[in-house]
């Protein structure tokens, strides 16, 4: 890994808190190693700001390896920045050139209000899960043996591919309608594909969709930007499956 160093300009959204107006601010940052991750670059900026007695930039992050779903930046007009199938924390500075100007903004959606700078409130996602994103089985352990119901590998694999959603919200941020369909459909699909989840599939999809609408997410108009920007490449098939599940539930609703 031969490191190189680049100098960059940053335009970053600064906003004191939920009630104040925000604005883009410009920063210069020199000597950024191209082996650094994007967030390590922001650490470096913050170190510089702290040393200059300015307030560091607040941003969400935790695992820094693309799995917790905490990081959430809109970089140069793209959710999670200029690379495919990665989160912001997996983006590396080798994707940028010396002298680049990089725009960094928070997710923008009515259902994701800004808390501070680049940090947004995604608790709407939790409430959707609480409305139905589960199998109603108690944790007694007195269930049947794990191998009692064989599950076709293809279904298990499809369920898994839906289940790897990290709840980051990039799909919402990339959608011109700020729709949460990809996120919701991933959970609905995972559980609808497994025998354990089928039992309450109908209530689940109805409840999750109702909560999604209440949270103020927009409608899905099938533009597909969500799936393109999704770091886990969650497929649009899940939306189609959820629509089918929803229609089925509506038709058979008492």
């Amino acid at each position: 890994m031969a490191s190189k160093y680049i100098n960059i300009n940053l335009k970053i959204w600064r906003q004191k808190n939920a009630n104040s107006k925000g604005e883009m601010k410009t920063y210069k940052l020199d000597q950024v190693s191209t082996d650094s991750s994007f967030l390590e670059m922001l650490d470096q900026l913050n170190e510089q700001l702290i040393n200059n007695r300015e307030e560091p930039v607040a941003f969400d992050h935790d695992c820094r390896e693309g799995i917790c779903g905490m990081c959430s930046l809109y970089i140069n007009g793209r959710a999670h920045g200029p690379d495919n199938a990665i989160t912001t924390c997996q983006l590396h500075m080798r994707k940028f050139k010396d002298g680049d100007t990089i725009y960094v903004e928070p997710w923008r959606a009515k259902a994701f209000p800004v808390i501070k700078d680049l940090v947004v409130d995604r608790s709407a996602f939790d409430r959707i899960q609480q409305a139905g994103g589960f199998v109603s089985v108690n944790t007694s352990g007195r269930t049947m043996d794990a191998n009692a119901i064989p599950i076709a590998k293809i279904d298990a694999d499809k369920a898994f591919e839906a289940a790897i959603c990290i709840g980051c919200g990039a799909c919402v941020a990339s959608c011109k309608n700020a729709s949460a369909m990809l996120f919701v459909s991933a959970k609905v699909s995972q559980l609808a594909l497994l025998p354990q989840g089928k039992v309450e599939a109908k209530e689940r999809v109805m409840n999750m969709v109702r909560q999604m609408d209440e949270e103020g997410f927009g409608n899905c108009t099938n533009t597909g930007a969500c799936s393109v920007e999704c770091p886990k490449e969650i497929s649009l098939d899940n939306i189609a499956r959820m629509n089918r599940e929803y229609m089925k539930a509506m038709v058979t609703a008492e």
């Binding site: 890994m1 808190n17 390590e40 007695r53 820094r64 390896e65 905490m70 590396h92 590998k153 289940a163």
Partner: protein, 670 residues
């Protein structure tokens, strides 16, 4: 007798838990809603505990510092979870899992706890499948398994390289259901900063709302701490950035003993360090050792040529490669336990055979080319291609590898910009897991009555070294299958207590402690960032309390940390205010606790004049460089009592370990 009563029940090991459980006190369903339980941390251990207690009907308040329980550090676990199901019919059993875990822990864990863990392991898999966790399956529709280090059976269940994610999302769905039903109240973006004791019992916590900065009082009849491990004391580790010791340390300061702090697991397969701005290290799952072979060049000049970029690993002939694990440990080969694999890598790099061109030349290869060929051949046969070409075989083999490990390979490529399907991965050991933690008895109760500790935060099951895929198992065992019983037993005496008021002097005092510390940092007006000090601490820890330790280094570490701590309080600069989202303040509060912990870790390592598991004292090794335990003098759990801010005054208590059912022997993986 020691002041530590482990409360291990009488009876045969295989009956202890069943008999004990049958005699624990219960709380009747109509009384449960009168009782409040606080659960701090909603990773695997905390979310499973909170969901279970909520289902039972207790009023649960759960806390986490992330914006959602779904983001706890457990999410990052990759490789798998163990369970003694014996689905592969390769001779596994509860006893064997129990035995492997005790042996893997280098005979420094409690028999009774570990046996219980093995007993409930099967139920965990049943439970997770019932919740809709999409484990990997075979074509016949049944669950698939793989092997992990330190075992000779296939008992590890997995979901590609995202097992922790899928298990945590399962537990998250269970806790979400209870939140939706109003039985668990969830406090996201809240950090516990102290515990409140009334008449000696745990009665509540002080938490900071990380968005508004408000300092809040929460009361409960019991407090469960499930806040994860303390690997971030080293600054660089595979842990998430926010992982911290604060909750565990705060209860330690209020009377909970801290056990075996020096037992740290350094994981053999992580991506090597690349630069000074690096913020964390990334694990490449141990499951890769099922398929990858670890080697360094046999000749020093080859290693030098590689480091200088003049040679590629693929140019080194088979006979010039040193597969040092296979050479030294033929029985277990690449699947020796983590501590053994890590030290072996260090040994080769210290001897000059490292292949990474970083400051320390630290790196070895993890090579998949043999596996790609053999799996490719198998796949060709399975598809009826009998005279497959070399290219066909390699293409099929790569496909197989991608299906098994695709996300790990992608992760590796994103970080290093190298394609691991073509070139061997470069790896090196990194801090990963902490076996030490808050001392708990068989009920998982700390030395503070009413304060229970679960998951990585306690010390209970892994002795001096944890086997792969056993932390997920332990977290869920604690939360789903142990705490619901033992906490109920404790709460049976609380049904008449009534709600605990928060306007009492005890809460005033705890809140004052928290506010004073916050103000001290914000008014400090020093000149250096928190990270500056954290990195310094990390270096001391890595160099002197890391993979190899010795008396002199440990003594130096203790003194250096003392000094660093003084400097930290004098010169740290924390911008911003108390009543807003302030990540620098959060970090400062955490690093303050890491400083004290780091010193205790060094003291613990110094007192333990033997090598065992992850604790390697250079003075105590055999002729072949293997750990040399001293069972006569050190077969105990070292539990430290806090004695004021001068950590040097901390007092060591010993809990003697008794092996009734397993014959204690030297660990041998040869």
């Amino acid at each position: 007798m020691s002041v530590l009563d482990s409360k291990i029940p009488e009876g045969h090991i295989s009956q202890k838990w069943t008999d004990y459980k049958n005699h624990l006190k219960l709380v009747a369903p109509n009384n449960r809603p009168k009782i409040d339980v606080i659960v701090v941390g909603t990773g695997l251990a905390g979310a499973s505990a909170a969901a279970s207690l909520g289902e039972m009907g207790y009023n649960v308040k759960a806390f986490c510092f992330q914006d959602s329980p779904r983001r706890a550090h457990s999410i990052a676990a990759q490789g798998g979870i163990n369970a003694a199901k014996n689905y592969q019919n390769d001779g596994d059993s509860i006893f064997r899992l129990f035995y492997d875990t005790i042996k893997g822990g280098d005979y420094r864990a409690r028999e009774a706890n570990v046996h219980r863990l093995a007993e409930v392991s099967g139920n965990i898999i049943d439970q997770c499948v019932a919740q809709g966790v999409p484990f990997a399956r075979e074509y016949g529709g049944l669950l698939d398994n793989r092997s992990f280090g330190g075992t000779q059976v296939q008992r590890t269940f997995y979901a590609a390289g995202q097992t922790g994610q899928q298990l945590l999302l399962g537990a998250y769905s269970a806790i979400s259901r209870q939140i939706g039903l109003g039985r668990v109240k969830m406090y996201n973006r809240h950090e516990m900063l102290d515990i409140v004791k009334v008449d000696g019992k745990a009665r509540g916590i002080i938490a900071r709302n990380l968005i508004t900065g408000a300092i809040e009082r929460h009361s409960g009849h019991a407090v469960i701490i499930a806040t994860g491990g303390y690997g971030n004391v080293y600054f660089l580790s595979t842990n998430a950035m926010g992982s911290n010791v604060t909750a565990a340390w705060k209860i330690h300061k209020q009377g909970a003993y801290f056990a075996n702090p020096c037992y740290v697991q350094i994981h053999p397969t992580c991506i090597p360090v690349h630069g000074t701005n690096q913020s964390k290290l990334t694990l490449m799952s141990e499951s890769l050792r099922n398929s990858g072979r670890i080697w360094v060049p046999k000749k020093k000049e080859d290693a030098e040529a590689i480091r200088a970029g003049k040679m590629k690993p693929t140019q080194i002939a088979e006979e010039d490669r040193d597969y040092y694990l296979e050479r030294r440990y033929p029985a277990f080969g690449n699947l020796v336990p983590r501590d053994v694999a890590s030290r072996a890598a260090k040994e080769r790099c210290d001897a000059g055979f490292g292949i990474e061109a970083n400051d320390t030349n630290e790196g070895v290869y993890l090579d998949f080319s043999s596996e790609i060929k053999s799996k490719g051949k198998q796949a060709a046969y399975a598809q009826g291609i009998h005279n497959a070409t070399e290219e066909q075989i390699i293409a099929l083999g790569k496909k197989w590898v991608e299906e098994k490990y695709g996300n790990l390979f992608q992760m590796y490529e994103k970080i290093t910009d190298e394609n691991p399907y073509e070139l061997p991965m470069k790896i090196y050991p990194a801090v990963h897991y902490t076996m030490g933690g808050v001392w708990v008895d068989y009920n998982l109760q700390s030395t503070i009555p009413g304060c229970f500790v679960a998951g990585e935060a306690n010390f209970s099951d892994h002795g001096a070294n944890r086997l792969g895929a056993s932390a997920l198992m332990q977290g869920l065992a604690d939360g789903y299958f142990v705490l619901p019983y033992t906490v109920s037993d404790y709460l049976a005496n609380e049904i008449r207590t009534g709600q605990i008021p928060t306007n009492t002097p005890e809460f005033d005092e705890a809140e004052k402690r928290v506010k004073d510390t916050i103000n001290q940092f914000l008014n400090n007006n020093g000149s250096r960032s928190v990270d500056h000090f954290h990195k310094k601490l990390g270096l001391i820890m890595w160099n002197k309390v890391g993979m190899g330790r010795n008396e002199q280094g440990l003594k130096e570490a203790i003194a250096e940390i003392d000094q660093l701590r003084a400097e930290f309080y004098k010169d740290v600069y924390v911008p911003g205010s108390a009543d807003e989202l302030n990540p620098e303040l959060e970090k400062a509060l955490r690093v303050a606790d890491f400083m004290e912990l780091g010193q205790l870790m060094a003291m613990d390592a110094l007192q333990r004049k033997e090598s065992c598991g992850g604790h390697f004292r250079e003075e105590y090794q055999d002729a072949e460089g293997e750990t040399l335990r001293d069972d006569e003098n050190f077969k105990f759990v070292g539990a430290w009592e806090y004695k004021g801010s001068d950590i040097n005054q901390s007092q060591l208590h010993k809990e003697e370990l008794n092996y009734e059912f397993i014959k204690i022997a030297a660990r041998n993986y040869k």
